[in-house]
């Protein structure tokens, strides 16, 4: 029994971990500095923002939706957090609470409009992307807000430690996300809705509340990601996190989440985040220019998805 469980884990994550391993080993070969603790720690402390977003995005993709507004919602919650803490002197906790409520509400609006009115979430969240970015600029008056040490403790490792509280929190959220997805009624319903919503309805379940919940959760994840980014940079930047939604989607897809819904894993998406971040950091270290970095990153995303598609085809034949 125990053996088969390990076997399951290997078959489920083996291919992804192999890709990650090859990348790490490859960069280790080309750059002497890469396999040092300081580099790995830097990577670990950079990933919480994208990890939070990828967790929410995985769930949204599983029910068959997509959320393009996560970058703007991250910036908006970061702006709310920054303004409340820096200008009004609120504590980090009350500010975080307000930021999470704002992002969660925006996510709920995404869900209610796209699910309730049956409008493709692509369009609704694209609108929210613009609205939230504009609101961010209104809140901050288009200026970066410096907060400083009041917030830094969360995103940066404490004295004598290697990893930040944000990293620990990200790991915790990944584990909770995976648990909810695989072990709860909620998670089972999400997968079912993404597979065949009409069959779910004909089984006597109302799908709408479950689909809306997923967008609300994605909003809340943006709130956490906002805190992670603000605390890492000590600053709320109204122009930050532009385009990060595509990185989040890429991480999910690399992890094997289907854009058509019905298939996905939070842990796999997390490995996808690691692959993207290792690639970014590694390429920078071996001295690849920014433009070439972009080309290579794009190619790796397509290659990873291609590999997954081929693997599926083989397993169907076998």
């Amino acid at each position: 029994m125990k053996q088969s469980r390990w076997f399951q884990i290997v078959t489920e994550y083996g291919a992804l971990l192999a890709v990650l391993g090859v990348l790490v080993a490859g960069f280790g070969l080309f750059s002497k500095n890469f396999l040092q603790v300081s580099t790995l720690v830097t990577i670990a402390n950079q990933i919480p923002d994208l990890t939070f977003l990828a967790v929410g995005m995985t769930l949204v993709l599983i029910v068959g939706g997509i959320d393009l507004s996560v970058g703007s919602l991250l910036a908006l919650s970061s702006a709310v957090l920054g303004v409340l803490m820096a200008k009004y002197g609120w504590s980090i906790w009350t500010s975080l609470l307000v930021a999470m409520i704002v992002a969660g509400l925006c996510g709920t609006v995404n869900g209610v409009i796209s699910v309730g009115c049956k409008i493709p979430s692509f369009i609704v969240t694209l609108g929210m992307l613009e609205i939230a970015r504009g609101a961010t600029k209104v809140v901050t008056d288009s200026q970066s807000v410096y907060i400083g040490s009041k917030v830094e403790w969360f995103g940066q490792p404490p004295e004598g430690m290697l990893l930040s509280p944000a990293f620990a929190m990200a790991i915790f959220v990944v584990l909770v996300g995976q648990f909810v997805l695989t072990r709860t009624v909620l998670g089972r319903y999400w997968v079912a809705i993404g597979t065949n919503e009409e069959a779910v309805r004909m089984s006597g379940i109302r799908p709408a509340p479950y689909s809306i919940a997923v967008f609300a959760i994605s909003g809340l994840m943006c709130g956490l990601a906002g805190l992670a980014q603000t605390s890492r940079l000590s600053t709320a930047d109204p122009n930050g996190a532009v385009g990060i939604e595509l990185a989040a989607i890429a991480a999910c897809v690399i992890g094997g989440t289907s854009l058509m819904g019905g298939r996905g894993s939070v842990v796999s998406s997390f490995i996808g985040v690691l692959i993207i971040q290792v690639l970014q950091t590694g390429l920078a270290q071996v001295g690849v220019s920014d433009s070439n970095k972009q080309i290579i990153t794009g190619a790796v995303i397509v290659a990873a998805v291609l590999l997954d598609a081929l693997r599926n085809r083989w397993s169907k034949i076998a």
């Binding site: 072990r183 709860t184 009624v185 909620l186 089972r188 319903y189 997968v191 079912a192 597979t195 065949n196 009409e198 069959a199 779910v200 309805r201 004909m202 089984s203 006597g204 379940i205 109302r206 019905g262 298939r263």
Partner: protein, 508 residues
């Protein structure tokens, strides 16, 4: 010109695995005649027409068209030979204009650039010729009513010069006036020497329009005769077969039938109206198995969907024993909560999560109620229940984690049924429960229905297979054109009586 043979088929046979849907059918259609094709559901009319029009290959048999051998391997082949078909379901592209739909396969162009003026002029000519001068050629097809869409579909076939035209239930969506216009056009085509094969359940139309008719039954040729020499009663008798012949298997089946009916009413439907379904009332008692039959399009599936709340009824009541009266269900979740289960007709479309495991599918309807504890799935219980029910139903699988897609049709259906057994409903609605599944699985489903009845559950079973209903049910209700016209008790029914009732609202 008349009486020249146009199409001859010789011993056309079509099998799917062990199932023979068409067996040795030989018919001949002349030039300049309207030839009606009659038969009950599953008689093989559509299969025959699909073979003639190249949509389907035959297992054996040959055809001749205009005196030379004819073996179309595709619809394009058939069209090149001058054979056009208008199928029951519409094949239009809703977002394109009427003109583009009419000439889709041969849009006029000059070096790849669409010649719009020519296209619309040509389309205008076709529409005018067909009496559709009210329709603009620029209009998007999806903005037209179903009747007009059907007319466009027919006009598209007529726009090509054809020798043989096949129409499968063309008037199903047409009003009386539109039908008349179609008939006038068909007559003028006939006079020009075109041969027409015409399928319809509406016997009035057949009597009015056709010159000769051919009857099929159970995939076999029964008779061809001049329409003038056949009354409507004759037609029904030919379609349903001699009642003395099929009485034998019927009696045989009833010897093993147990009546588990109690006096308590489990489901009561009153004046239910929902789209096609009009003013339907009936009761089902605990332990009763009632069959619902009728022609395709008579509203059988729609009736079940309206009871279950899958389609929202416009008026009427649905009540369960001990439940509230004076209401109907507006969402399947309400019906399920009240104790109704529905095994849907199209299990791939809306019955199953094909990509998910047997376990997920089996417990989908009961997960929250039976296999969870404050939102967490109780995996052990879920697994045991799934294994147990798979064993009970003899579902053949390697593991319950296997995706349902990999199962055979019969085993998929067992999973679809198992889902509701775990939910423990009081009323089971079955829509075509044995479609496309093998004999052994079919047996298993019949046994299951019997044990449901024995345990005091009520079953409503919709099926196109009348023998199946006669074998399993205590009573059979017959629908005709959206209404429930008659109910026959076991022992009082016959193929003939049921066929008569099925046509009741069509042959007025």
């Amino acid at each position: 010109m008349k009486n020249v043979p146009l199409l001859q088929t010789h011993g056309l046979t079509r099998r799917y695995g062990d199932v023979t849907v068409l067996e040795g059918v030989s018919i001949h259609v002349r030039t300049g005649e309207i030839h009606a094709l009659l038969g009950a559901n599953g008689a093989g009319k559509s299969t025959l027409c699909k073979i003639i029009s190249g949509l389907l290959g035959q297992t054996s048999g040959t055809m001749q068209l205009g005196g030379s051998d004819y073996a179309p391997s595709s619809k394009q082949d058939a069209e090149a030979a001058g054979v056009e078909i208008v199928q029951q379901e519409l094949n239009l592209i809703g977002t394109l204009s009427v003109a583009e739909n009419l000439f889709l396969a041969r849009l006029p162009s000059y070096g790849g650039v669409l010649r719009n003026r020519l296209l619309h002029d040509e389309a205008r000519r076709v529409l005018d010729q067909f009496g559709l001068d009210g329709i603009s050629t620029n209009k998007r097809v999806e903005s037209l009513g179903v009747g007009y869409q059907q007319m466009v579909e027919i006009a598209r076939a007529l726009a090509r010069d054809c020798r043989l035209l096949i129409l499968d239930e063309p008037t199903a969506a047409l009003s009386g006036q539109e039908s008349e216009r179609l008939f006038a056009h068909l007559r003028s085509l006939r006079d020009q020497g075109v041969g027409i094969i015409y399928i319809s359940h509406r016997l009035d139309e057949v009597a009015e329009l056709s010159d000769r008719l051919t009857v099929l039954r159970d995939g076999q040729f029964v008779e061809t005769r001049a329409t003038k020499s056949a009354s409507k009663d004759d037609m029904v008798n030919l379609m349903s077969g001699d009642s003395s012949v099929d009485a034998a298997p019927n009696q045989h089946a009833s010897s093993g039938h147990h009546d588990y009916r109690s006096s308590e009413i489990a489901l009561s439907v009153r004046n239910l109206t929902c789209g096609l379904v009009r003013d339907v009332s009936f009761d089902v008692r605990r332990g009763e198995r009632i069959g619902v039959t009728g022609l395709v399009g008579s509203g059988r599936t729609e009736l079940l969907r309206a009871i279950f709340g899958a389609d929202v009824a416009t008026s009427g009541e649905v009540a369960l024993s001990g439940g509230k009266t004076g209401r109907r269900f507006t969402h399947p979740s309400e019906a399920v909560a009240a104790g109704v289960a529905m095994v849907t007709e199209d299990r791939k479309q809306n019955g199953l999560l094909l990509a998910q495991s047997i376990r997920s599918n089996t417990t989908l309807s009961s997960l929250r109620e039976r296999f969870s504890w404050s939102g967490l799935i109780r995996s052990r219980e879920e697994e045991n229940a799934t294994l147990q029910i798979a064993k009970d139903l003899e579902t053949k699988c390697e593991s319950i984690e296997q995706s349902v897609r990999t199962l055979s049709g019969g085993n998929q259906q067992k999973v679809a049924v198992a889902k509701w057994l775990l939910r423990d409903a009081d009323v089971f609605l079955f829509d075509e429960p044995t479609r496309g599944i093998d004999v052994a699985a079919r047996r298993r489903i019949y046994l299951l229905m019997e044990s449901l009845a024995e345990n005091g559950k009520a079953c409503v079973i919709v099926s196109s297979d009348l023998d199946e209903l006669m074998e399993t049910c205590d009573a059979i209700a017959v629908m005709s054109d959206g209404q429930l016209v008659d109910t026959f008790q076991r022992g009082q029914w016959s193929h003939e009586k049921i066929a008569q009732a099925s046509f009741a609202r069509y042959a007025s």
